[in-house]
Assembly symmetry: C2
Homo-oligomer: 144 residues x 2
Amino acid sequence: MFSKTCEYAIRAMIFIAQKSKDGSKVGIKEIAKGIDSPEYFIAKILQELGRKGVVQSMKGPTGGFYLDNSARKTSLATIVKAVDGDNIFSGCGLGLKQCSDKHPCPLHHEFTKIRKDITSMLNKTRVGDLQEELDQKLTFLRRD
Amino acid sequence: MFSKTCEYAIRAMIFIAQKSKDGSKVGIKEIAKGIDSPEYFIAKILQELGRKGVVQSMKGPTGGFYLDNSARKTSLATIVKAVDGDNIFSGCGLGLKQCSDKHPCPLHHEFTKIRKDITSMLNKTRVGDLQEELDQKLTFLRRD
DNA sequence: AAAATAAAAGACAAAAATATCTTTTATAGA
DNA sequence: TCTATAAAAGATATTTTTGTCTTTTATTTT
Ligand code: FES
Ligand code: FES
């Protein structure tokens, strides 16, 4: 469904939301441990998300990653689009170069339904909301 | 959603269903052209599907690939499982090692709904049915 | 100002997915 | 039986994804 990169990105965003909700910042090592991802790899991913303004960061002592109030409202759709592009939102399920009602692949009718559900789900799910459930220990970001 | 391999596999199966509906067989070159895939690559994929009994084939002159009556009833789920494994049917959307109601990731509740829809769609969609629409030129396997 | 810290940037490495080519085997037809 | 045909099998190559390491830059603290 999502690339590994994207899975890590979403998990990291939720983790950062949690750890920075009191205004503090969280370092890359803690993030990597918290979401069980390769440290250098998630660093690269967050670097890119930082460039796109999806996550905030600060260098130096007491520095780290955090989410400002607007970033907490980021939808999963925004993250997925930033990392995986928009194939999942508009691409053909059978890999035709273009998905189109006028020139549909054999799966088009069934697939567009699913794709619509996915899009709507990703659009309405926000990082901040997921973080709250995590806080209540109702959900988890890693399996020990 | 699906790997490239899997997309080619599904397209090829539908194409073969169409070309072999009168009992004849279709060669790898014609398949590759018909679904716009790399020739040697789809050959490998069909070889593997052949080993698993999902597609039938015959060597030598007048040989080629075809689908017997039982193979026409193959669901997309069977093809996807044979090629991509069962991650899409049971894997965690955020990449946790295990998806579980007891230890859910933050996306679990939303994701399992989608996954259920996908599974059900793939289970009830059969190669033979898709081939019929293709035959009526209502759908297409490539974009020119 | 100097030292320590932590992310950014850039280079590199390994693994997996995708794609191609060559040789072998089975089958049909002359 | 010989030849031509087409898939199977095996080897190799390329590209993309995933993962790692090193150097640089910004910031804080001493
Ligand atoms: S054309 Fe394939 S999903 Fe629309
Ligand atoms: S645990 Fe992630 S989808 Fe179920």
